[in-house]
C-alpha cells in the first residue's frame, strides 16, 4: 500500500498508509518532512494523476529555516490510515494540522518555523552554537 488520493469526494482526501511510516516503538511512529515530501512528489506525475491539481508546495531548507512541505489546501485534505497509533512529524514544517482529517490517529508535529533543531554538545563554543542556529558568526 502506498499513498492514495480519493478524488470522488470534495475536497480530495490524501491517505498516508501506516506502512509508509517509521515505527519507533509500540504504537508510536514517525515520519520526517522529507519522507512526507517524497511520498507526495512521487505521486504527482503519473498518468492517472497528471490531470489533477498539484498536491503540494515545498520550500527547501536554508541554513536558518527548516524545509516546509504544504498540502495544496484549495483542493486537498489529508489523513493517516485509521488505527490506534500516533505519528510524529519531524525535521521540518508542514501544514498537516491545517488540512488534517481528524480520526483515531494521534498526530504530532514539530513545526518550528524559523528554528532548526541543532545538536549541541557540551564542548561547543558560543560561536559554534551561533553558527549552527543562525548560520552566522559572532564577531
Amino acid at each position: 500500500m502506498s499513498l492514495s488520493v480519493d478524488y470522488s469526494v470534495t475536497p480530495f482526501v490524501i491517505t498516508i498508509p501506516k506502512s509508509d511510516l517509521t515505527l519507533i516503538t509500540g504504537d508510536k511512529y514517525q515520519m520526517t518532512v522529507d519522507e512526507y515530501w517524497y511520498l507526495l512528489r512521487d505521486y504527482t506525475d503519473n498518468e492517472g494523476t497528471m490531470a489533477q491539481p498539484i498536491l503540494y508546495s515545498r520550500i527547501p531548507a536554508t541554513s536558518s529555516t527548516p524545509s516546509i512541505t504544504n498540502i495544496n489546501e484549495a483542493y486537498y485534505v489529508l489523513r493517516f490510515e485509521p488505527g490506534l497509533y500516533s505519528v510524529r512529524i519531524i525535521n521540518g514544517n508542514t501544514n498537516i494540522r491545517d488540512v488534517e482529517v481528524i480520526n483515531t490517529v494521534s498526530v504530532h508535529t514539530d513545526s518550528t518555523t524559523g528554528f532548526n533543531t541543532v545538536e549541541i554538545a557540551a564542548t561547543h563554543t558560543v560561536e559554534e552554537i551561533a553558527t549552527g542556529v543562525w548560520g552566522m558568526t559572532i564577531a
Binding site: D6, Y7, S8, R41, D42, T44, D45, N46, E47, G48, T49, M50, A51, Q52, I54, R58
Partner: protein, 642 residues
Amino acid sequence: MPGTIVNNMTALQEADATTGWTGLTTPSLYTAFFRESTGCLGVKLNAAAGWAYAAPAGSPLNMANMTIHGWNLFYVGRDTYANGGMSLIVGDGTNRAGFPCAGSDVAGYHATPDGWSCVILSVPDKVDGEAITLAGTAASINDAAVTQIGYYFAASTSAVGNVDNTFWDIVWAYTHTGYAVEITAGTDVSPAGFTDLSDYDSSTATLRGLGVMSEVAAGVFSNTAPVQVGDDGTGTSYFVATNEEIIFEDVGHLNNHKFTVVGNATGTNTAYFTSFTFRNVHSTLTPTLNFNGGNIDVLEFDGCAIIGCAVNFSSTTDATGHKYVNGTFTNCGAIDMGSIADATANLFTSCGAVTSQGCDMTDSSILTSTVAANASALIYNETADPDGEFDGMTFSKGTNAHHAIEFGLSSPLTMTLRNVTCTGFNAADTQNDSTFHFKRTTGTVTLNLVGFTGNYTYRTDGATIILVVDPVTVKATATLKDGTPVASARVYLRASDGTGPFPFEETVTSITRATTTATVTHASHGMATGDKIVLEGITDKTEDNYLVKTITVTGVNTYTYTTTDSGSTAYTGTIKSTFVALFDTTDVNGEASVSRVYSSAQPVTGWTRKSSATPFLQEGVLNGTVSSTLGFNGTAVMLGDE
C-alpha cells in the same frame, strides 16, 4: 579522348581476307574501302540472293547468350526484310540459316557517310519463322556450338556492270550478361562523355566499328548495345553529359538493352547529366537504366528526361545525396527512387508505381499513373514522417482505378502532407481509387493534410485511419531556468474556458458501460476520433474521474473510451467533460506536440511535471490560446524539487 573505352565485344571475323569464307560465289577482297582495318569482302548480286559465311573466332562458339553486329554496304537495290534483304547467318555445321535484320523497308544502324550500315541479331531471340534456311533446319541450330557466322543478302534489282555490288566487313558479338562497351576514366577538368564512345566506334581503325553508338546529329547519340559508364573496378571516373540525347534504337530482337552507371568502393565515381534525354524508340521492348551500380559517389541529373525506359535507382551501396531534379519521366514503368535524395520538381507521366525511399519529392507531379487497380502511384514505406518530402506534389488518376499514395506497413502512425493536390480520385472511402491506401492492418494512423486539394479519402487494410485536414500544431516545451530542455516530463494542456470550439467542463447527458467500453452521450461535442478528454463529477465509477481518455467518435452526440470492466454500467453524478489539447511526454528536446484542426481560437491551460525520476522538478505552468491558424507554442520553466 578524356574517357577510356573498354571494348568487351569479340571480333568473330574481321573480313580482311577471303580466307575461310565460303559463299554462293567466292567473295573478293577490297582494300580501297572498308568499314574496319584494311579491307572488306564483296560479291555481285543480280536481282538474286547470295551469302557467305566463315567460322567464328573460338569456333564452336557458345552464342546462346550473345548478340551479333555486322556491317553491310550495298550498291544494288536491297530486297525487303521479309525476303532477307540484309541478314546474318548462324549455323552449327548441320543447320544453317540467314535471319533477317534489315532490308529495303527496315533500315540498319549507325549508317556511315560512305554507305555502311550495321545489322544486329540477338542469337537467342532470332525468329525461326523468319529464317531463310540454307542447310538443315533453322529451328535446330545449336546456339551453344556455333561454327558458322556470316551474311545473307537479297538484291531486288539487277547488277549494273560486271562488278561486285554487295560488301561486308567485321562481325562482332557480345555477351548479354555484360556490357558491350564501358566508358571509364575522365576527370573533373576533362570528363568522359558519350563522344568518347561515338568517336571510337566511328573510327575505321583496326578492331573499331563496334556498331554500338554513333552521333547521328550534334549531341544525339544512337545506341544499339548495352553500355556502362563509370568504373566497376577500383579506379576513379568522371562522366558528364550536357545538352545531349541518347536514343535506344528499335533493335528488332534485342531483349537486353541497358545503360548503367557504376562506381566502386575505392575510387571516386562521379556522373553528371544536365538537360540530357534518355529516349527509347523501341516498339515493344524496354531498355533498363541502372543508376544503382555499387558505390556511385556523385550522381546528379538536372533537367533530364527519361522516356520509355525502365529506371532503377535502388541501391544499398551508393552514397547518399544523389539528385534527380527538374526532370521528367514518361512511360517509364515502375521507378524505385532508391538512392536519390533530392527528387524535387520532377514530372512523372504515365509511369508505374514510384517508390520513395525517403527522398525529397517537393513540387513533383505524378500524372496518369499506369498502375493496376487498387495499386498506388506513389509508394511510401519508410519509418519516418514524410512531412516536407511531398510538399506541393500533384497527382492525377490514370485509366485504372488506383490510389494516389500508398503508406506501407513500416510507415509511421502520424504523418503530414502539405499542399498536395489529387485529381480524379474517388470521393468515397474504401474504394480501389480512394486517394490514400494505408497498408497497416492494426493500430491508428493519423494523416495530417495541410492545404490539401481534392478528395481526402482512403482505403485501409485494417488500421483505424484519422485524416486531419489543415491542422495546427500544439507544442509545449519544458525547460530549466537556463533553457536546458527537460526530457521525459509529462505535459497536460486542456481547454480553460468555454469560448473555444471544444468542450470545457460541459455536462454530459449520460455515460454507459459495456465491458471495457464506456459510451458518452455528449450533445454536439465537436470532437474527433483520437481526441482526448478528462471527465469529472462521476460519483460511482470514480476511477474514471480526471483520467485522460482517448476517444473514438461514434456520432455527433456520442463517443466512446476504454475503461476497466468493473463497477457501474450507468454512471451517476453531474459528469463534466473537458477537451485535452495535449497529453504527452517531452522528447530529448524537451518538446511534446500534436497536430489538430481548430476552427477557432481555443484558450488552454495546463502544466508540465517531472517528479518520479531524477531530475525531480517542480510543476511548470502553461497558459495561452491555441490559434486556429498558428497553433500554440508554449514553454514551461521547471524549477528543481530535489
